[in-house]
């Protein structure tokens, strides 16, 4: 047999990879304004989000945007929030400075988020008894220019005109997102809006922060799905088999779009059961395969999770959470599936669960998911959620060559045993067609060769082998990020990271510090010591019981307060700040 070179060959004897260190900038205190846009699905609200995000970024601002939308393709009432600032604020706020209502329904949908100071811009036809509206001739002008569809570009122009920003920048952004046929019309509508916006003198216009071109120029605007996807590519992903399911589909679409340029096999499976079994078939054959899904689909993968465990076949599962049970709220967000991820599958076997908290971590942990699955020959679940997947924020440029490439594939000889016992529990992983050995992988309890067995001695050895692997992952677990120091720990995992960071900045209380877990399972008790020396531990989770808090408690940590939400939204910095203030004001 022709021996093929294994690129980047490595073994378990090498210490775990280090994540690259990324460039960090110093920032002044953030001043921001928030702009909310509301309208029906299918009216171009997402295009408007993309145009404005790009145009504000090009104007020198830090931009964060997030959306909440209904589970329908047309109609309903959806919103997109933009935060424009002079320093990164990568989390949403509840109350907004400016609201653009594209229709009347949008007004009642967001009524609770408007304050007396909120400026509401809406079409001339939109009226409301209590809310003061600044009417602008959006639809009329758009229709005069040829189509009501140009209203969004008109609105973007009003905004830029109001703020006295550069219309050329906005015009370039518009050009990026519309095709040739309607580019000119949209630019025309924008210019009309711009002129109108410049003349809007009667209203109190919120003040934009100082632009920071020198900081933002080199930065990158990206959403959590694409960032995760780039991470998976950095980890060498070359196969994805998935059944579409909100909010995970962004990753599937992203990978499919990349497959035109790379050797990357993409298949839409008939169901999630096939998805994960295909992933296992891929890894068994030497591919680096993943699937993407949400809670309901992941529930169907439980048996194959168990197969990954017993057969020691690596697997990567991108699990973008949404609120359950069952269909739940398909397009909304929650951190409700941590326990499902930890406990899915029958029998006892190791797994690693990663939950990135920001765009940079989305890439880092996407890379790491593949590295760890290969290293430990077990399933790795990458826990995201609708909020993280769909939010757009800015990140520093990164260097993809800094992600160390390793492949733990082994060229077999004729005496090869797939489950040979050794001191680590990790047997070098042979694959068919590479070397002189026979690779016997099995779902049964098996002996070292892979043959089914019912010998209780062998069973004990194999149970111990799999346990050894778990012990190894615990001892090699990546540490949580500890930001600051103090007597009150604010503990979070996954997508709450940036909201907590921002609230700590705003509260400016020297007692507060932040412990963020992106490696959420299995935990290394040594990493928790820092939380035993605190006065108060406050956990912040987007689920109803505090699933992670209970895990920390099982490690003998005290959890003094739980700030929990499960209403379909992620945490809003202003509301979280209020809740935290109420808790810490009574603390010594």
């Amino acid at each position: 047999m022709k021996e093929l070179k294994i690129p980047f060959q490595s073994t378990i004897a090498n210490p775990p990879v280090s994540l690259p260190t990324h460039k960090k900038q110093e920032h002044s205190n953030a001043h921001s304004i928030s702009i909310l846009i509301g309208g029906a699905a299918g009216t171009g609200i997402m295009t408007l989000e993309n145009i404005l995000s790009d145009a504000f970024k090009q104007s020198g601002y830090f931009v964060f945007s997030t959306k909440e939308y209904m589970s329908r393709v047309r109609g309903g009432s959806n919103t997109t929030l933009l935060r424009i600032s002079n320093a990164p604020i990568n989390a949403p706020c509840w109350n907004v400075d400016l609201f653009i209502a594209l229709d009347t329904d949008a007004l009642s949908h967001v009524e609770e988020r408007l304050t007396d100071d909120t400026i509401v811009l809406a079409d001339e036809k939109v009226t409301h008894e209590q809310i003061h509206i600044t009417n602008i001739p959006m639809l009329k002008t758009a229709k005069e220019l040829g189509s009501a569809n140009y209203a969004n570009s008109y609105a973007s122009g009003v905004l830029f005109g109001m703020f006295g920003l550069d219309r050329l920048i906005l015009s370039q952004s518009i050009a990026k997102f519309f095709n040739e046929e309607i580019k000119q019309e949209n630019k025309g509508a924008m210019l009309e809006g711009f002129t109108y916006g410049e003349s809007l003198e009667m209203i109190h216009i919120p003040k934009l922060p100082e632009p920071q071109e020198s900081l933002t120029e080199s930065m990158h605007l990206i959403n959590g799905s694409a960032a995760a996807g780039f991470g998976f590519l950095a980890g060498g992903c070359n196969m994805i088999t998935s059944y579409p399911m909100s909010p995970s589909t962004g990753v599937l679409n992203f990978m499919a779009s990349m497959s035109k340029e790379l050797t990357l096999l993409v298949e839409q499976s008939e169901d999630e059961i096939a998805s994960l079994n295909m992933v296992l078939g891929g890894w068994y054959g030497g591919a680096r395969a993943m699937t993407s899904t949400s809670g309901g689909g992941f529930a169907l993968m439980s048996e194959a999770m168990s197969l990954s465990g017993v057969s020691e076949t690596p697997a990567v599962v991108y699990l973008a959470q949404r609120p359950g049970p069952a269909t739940g709220l398909p397009t909304r967000t929650e951190q409700g599936d941590l326990n499902l991820a930890i406990h899915s599958g029958h029998g006892h076997f190791g797994r690693i669960i990663l939950a990135p908290g920001d765009i940079q971590e989305c890439i880092d942990y996407g890379y790491l998911a593949f590295e760890l699955a290969d290293r430990y020959q077990m399933p790795v679940i990458y826990l995201s959620d609708q909020y993280l997947a769909d939010s757009i924020s800015m990140m520093e440029k990164i260097d993809f060559s800094a992600y160390e490439q390793r492949r733990y594939i082994h060229t077999t000889d004729s005496s090869y045993d797939r489950y040979k016992l050794n001191e680590t529990g990790i047997t070098p992983r042979g694959i068919p067609g590479l070397g002189d050995g026979i690779v016997v992988s099995s779902s049964h309890e098996h002996d070292e060769r892979g043959q089914s067995t019912e010998s209780y001695h062998v069973r004990e050895n194999m149970v111990n082998k799999r346990k050894q692997k778990i012990d190894l992952t615990i001892s090699e677990a990546y540490e949580p990020s500890v930001m600051g120091q103090g007597s009150i720990a604010l503990i979070g995992w996954g997508s709450t990271k940036c909201a907590i960071t921002q609230v700590i900045k705003e509260l400016d209380d020297s007692r507060l510090f932040h412990v963020h877990f992106a490696w959420v399972h299995p935990l290394n008790p040594e990493h928790l010591e820092i939380l035993k020396n605190t006065e108060t531990n406050i956990i912040i989770e987007n689920n109803v019981t505090g699933q992670f808090a209970d895990i920390l408690k099982s490690h003998d940590l005290k959890i003094d307060h739980r700030i929990l939400e499960s209403n379909g939204f992620s945490f809003f910095t202003d509301l979280l700040k209020e809740k935290l203030s109420n808790i810490i004001k009574d603390l010594r």
């Binding site: 093929l4 993409v266 492949r407 043959q451």
Partner: protein, 281 residues
Amino acid sequence: MKHPLDRPDTKPAWCPGCGNFGILKLLEEVLTELDLNPKNTVIVSGIGQASKTPYYIDTHMFGGLHGRALPVATALKASNPSLNVIAEGGDGDMYGEGGNHFIHTIRRNPDIVHIVHNNMVYGLTKGQASPTSQKGFNTPVQVKGVSNEPFNPISVALALRAGFVSRVNIGNYAHAKMVLKEAFLHKGYALIDIFQPCVVFNKTNTYKWFKDNTYELESSHDSSNLTSAMIKALEYDPIPIGIFYQTESITFEEYLREDEKKALFSLTHDMQKIQEMFEEY
């Protein structure tokens, strides 16, 4: 009887007289006669008596879950198109638990051989009806006899325009061998449904019953004609065996991989390219 392809130091866990012994021998002989390198051959199986086969034959194997051999085999073949990939299991495994994968694997057309041991009964779970059990068949669960219409894998595969659709009777060994060889030589998905008796739990569909109730398709049968294949597939008394239909079309891995057929393990992404894609994104 020993065969050089037997996995050393193993002893099949089947009942004496089981039809699976014949299928094991058949597969070993066909692999040998076609000169297929066992170290470049993988059998993927599920769960059931039939799915034990790869534990006794010394090729690579992936013993997976009940009903799930086909998705594993499909992705495996795509990950390394130079491998000979076989998916093997019983009628309950492939047509019952894995029915959805059966349908969609045919639609994908991976270049794999799909061997289904069809004994019209559940063996491992001791005697319940299988999807192919005949009407009226009495079991400890179907106490009034089977009422469900028997699953016809041949007509279903034909309805999906499977590339190679065949059925054999292990009791007619020479014919079975000829057909299995053709299945291996076919480029694309190839179904071979193999009648075999379960000597313990099916006292109706015995060696004799299969012999008396099957006939080889006439040499005049045009296996390139889907309509006449379907007419044959629906015949029941007696049941035709042989190659019902054969046609070649683009395979799953050809669609995914195009001209690039190297094993994925030997390839890596160009990180410079990913860097560029990121910067342009």
